[in-house]
């Protein structure tokens, strides 16, 4: 029987990896992929607690998270395409039109 803390530790490591990716990568698409890694870490946590606390609410929340992730990916990639059309770059350092 795998203890709950093992799942929580795996999820924490994955979340840290995703956070590090958001912080150090400069390519917008990879930054979005790192956000997906963090969402997956949260999903592991939700499902693990749902299993160990014998409740269905965690699994349902994970399901809704996946739907939200799908919407987020679609809109994020559309934003990338719009920015790329104007600047021909996906480097997040160069996307500073709204900064003043």
């Amino acid at each position: 029987m795998v203890p709950l803390s093992a799942y929580v530790a795996v999820s924490a490591v994955l979340f840290m990896t995703g956070l590090l990716g958001v912080l150090i990568r400069r390519n917008f698409i990879i930054v979005l992929m790192s956000v997906e890694i963090m969402m997956n870490a949260a999903n592991i946590n939700l499902v693990a607690f749902s299993h160990y606390l014998e409740s269905m609410a965690g699994q349902l929340t994970a399901l809704f998270f996946i739907a939200v992730a799908a919407g987020e990916a679609a809109v994020g990639l559309a934003i990338i395409i719009v920015v790329f059309r104007g600047k021909v770059s996906t480097n997040v350092d160069e996307m500073n039109v709204l900064k003043w």
Binding site: S5, I29, V47, Q59, L60, I66, G71, A78, S89
Partner: protein
């Protein structure tokens, strides 16, 4: 046996996550992300969540990842880009220290909570899909409807954002 599978899925998903963050070519990053998603779905199977396993494979690996790969193909990125933040070694050290501390705390802490009303035997009796469906269409019906409206808004937003803008001349010519 479950412990062996858990170790395999956990280690490979962590390795794939690190590869996703560290590889240079964005397409390779996408493929590493695919490996991550598949192994996370394996963890879901170990937790008796077969329905989420199917959703993870179909929606994440089948739809979202293909969307990413299509955008990568359309953009045709140049190889001479700067890949990491200029001062990334300074992020790396504190992040590793913080990760070690957080994992130490997580493994030591006792987990307890109010037990729900769906024990393992009840899930296994009719299957996970049945249990999820009963719960979703009774207690979480409003969230289900909201997610539907949200997805419609996301689709319309993505189409409107990514549409090729009309040139000003053609708009003037119409009027």
């Amino acid at each position: 046996m479950v412990a062996v599978f858990f170790a395999y899925f956990a280690l490979v998903s962590i390795a794939a996550g690190v590869l996703t963050v560290s590889l240079k070519n964005p397409v390779h990053c996408g493929l590493a992300l695919l490996a991550l998603l598949m192994h996370v779905s394996g963890l879901f199977v170990l937790l008796n969540a077969e329905f989420l396993w199917a959703v993870q494979v179909i929606v994440y690996a089948g739809a979202i990842l293909v969307l990413y790969l299509f955008v990568l193909m359309l953009l045709n990125l140049k190889a001479d880009e700067r890949y990491f933040h200029a001062s990334y070694p300074y992020f790396l050290g504190p992040a590793l220290l913080g990760a070690c501390y957080v994992i130490f705390l997580l493994i030591r802490s006792p987990y307890a909570g109010v037990k729900g009303d769906v024990p393992d035997a009840a899930v296994l009796e009719h299957g996970d899909t049945y249990a999820v469906g009963i719960k979703m269409f009774s207690d979480h019906l409003l969230q289900f409807e909201i997610i539907g409206v949200f997805l419609l808004g996301a689709i319309i937003g993505a189409i409107v954002l990514a549409k090729t803008p009309k040139s000003i001349d053609s708009m003037n010519g119409k009027e």
